[in-house]
């Protein structure tokens, strides 16, 4: 029985898990809570698809946090991250830009998608204005 459990655990390690995180899951969380939540999933070798976008200061904290873990957690090489927005506010007219920014303040950037994954699993994420390509590691 315990052998089977160990085998399952080993198999699970090799599996690729994609975790969808709706914006509501982080909407009321503080920066520290958001990073803690994301890092927990990353260290569990999961790829996160987050509805919405992190703030620039949160992204930088996430990078900082990752750097402190490299060399301290076996096999951890950092993260890959990319975000893409449904609407780029710079392409809108003035009125729509104001409307878009007000909506952003009220409900957050829910029309954006952010992909975050451990660098040991996600080899590269390339982003063009309207698409994200995810290349997985063969290791």
């Amino acid at each position: 029985m315990s052998k089977k459990k160990n085998k399952d655990k080993k198999d699970r390690k090799k599996d690729l898990t994609i975790h969808f995180m709706p914006y509501s899951e982080i909407a009321n969380a503080s920066t520290i809570e958001r990073i803690k939540k994301i890092m927990g999933l990353i260290l569990d070798n999961k790829i996160i698809i987050l509805q919405g976008k992190l703030k620039p200061e949160e992204e930088v904290r996430l990078i900082e946090n990752s750097m402190t873990l490299i060399g301290n957690i076996e096999g951890f090489q950092g993260i890959e991250i990319a975000a893409i927005s449904g609407k780029e506010s710079e392409n809108l007219g003035l009125f729509n830009k104001v409307r878009y920014n007000i909506a952003r303040i009220l409900v957050g950037e829910q029309d954006a998608i952010t992909i975050i994954g451990p660098a040991s699993v996600v080899k590269e994420i390339t982003r063009d204005p309207k698409k994200i390509e995810l290349m997985l590691s063969r290791k």
């Binding site: 620039p56 992204e59 402190t68 490299i70 982003r127």
Partner: protein, 213 residues
């Protein structure tokens, strides 16, 4: 409450008595974008010496490098700033990448450790610069999250930014793609290596530092 008042007073007074010439000009970007090459070009042009070592191996600069007093004089105008060359910011560091450059496992691990510390140091300095030049390798995809994160953080801190699309001497360079990725910013295409278009860069540098004052 006392802390808030103290911070407010500090901001007001440091703003009032900030001397011209105290501008801290940061060089930010991904590893191998050419930050140290451009810093060296500026230092060579105006001081006659290099600031740091340049190589093809990523994370060559792993510690903040500072040149205290750089003075540029052009068309009767004078510009004085402290030049801060930062280690390249990356979201991942794998020691195995350094093995390809002939380093031993131990050397590669040590370099990786220093690189991660350098990235943390670069991020900390974001709170301490007055104006920033973001270097982007114009032969690569400019939509990398590192570029977006750096610029996003500078905007959030209200720090003036000049984007420099480097390596325009290379065939694969695409300055229009860099301009397309950051349409709200001034983008200057240069080759830090051979000095191509450096005059236009100096023009924009004057405008950038003026915004920071």
């Amino acid at each position: 409450m006392i802390k808030i008042i103290k911070n407010f007073a500090q901001r007001v007074f440091s703003g009032l008595f900030k001397k011209k010439g105290e501008i801290k000009l940061g060089f930010y970007g991904s590893p191998n974008a050419g930050k140290t090459s451009l810093a060296n070009k500026i230092c060579q042009d105006w001081i006659g010496e290099d600031l740091g070592v340049v190589s093809n191996m990523p994370h060559e600069t792993r510690k903040i490098q500072i040149k205290e007093k750089v003075v540029i004089e052009r068309n009767g105008k004078r510009l004085e700033f402290k030049l801060i060359d930062t280690p390249g910011i990356a979201t991942k560091v794998d020691f195995e990448d350094f093995l390809k450059f002939g380093l031993s496992k131990k050397e590669a691990q040590s370099r990786a450790k220093e690189a991660t510390q350098g990235i943390i140091e670069s991020i900390k300095w974001l709170d301490d610069v007055d104006a920033v030049i973001v270097l982007i390798d114009s032969t690569l995809n400019p939509y990398s999250q590192v570029n977006i994160t750096i610029i996003g953080n500078l905007v959030a801190r209200k720090i003036p930014v000049l984007i420099v699309a480097n390596k325009i001497d290379l065939k694969k360079a695409d300055i229009k793609k860099v301009q397309g990725a950051f349409p709200e910013y001034t983008v200057v295409g240069i080759s830090a290596k051979n000095g191509e278009n450096i005059e236009e860069f100096y023009e924009e540098l004057f405008k950038l530092v003026k915004k920071a004052r």
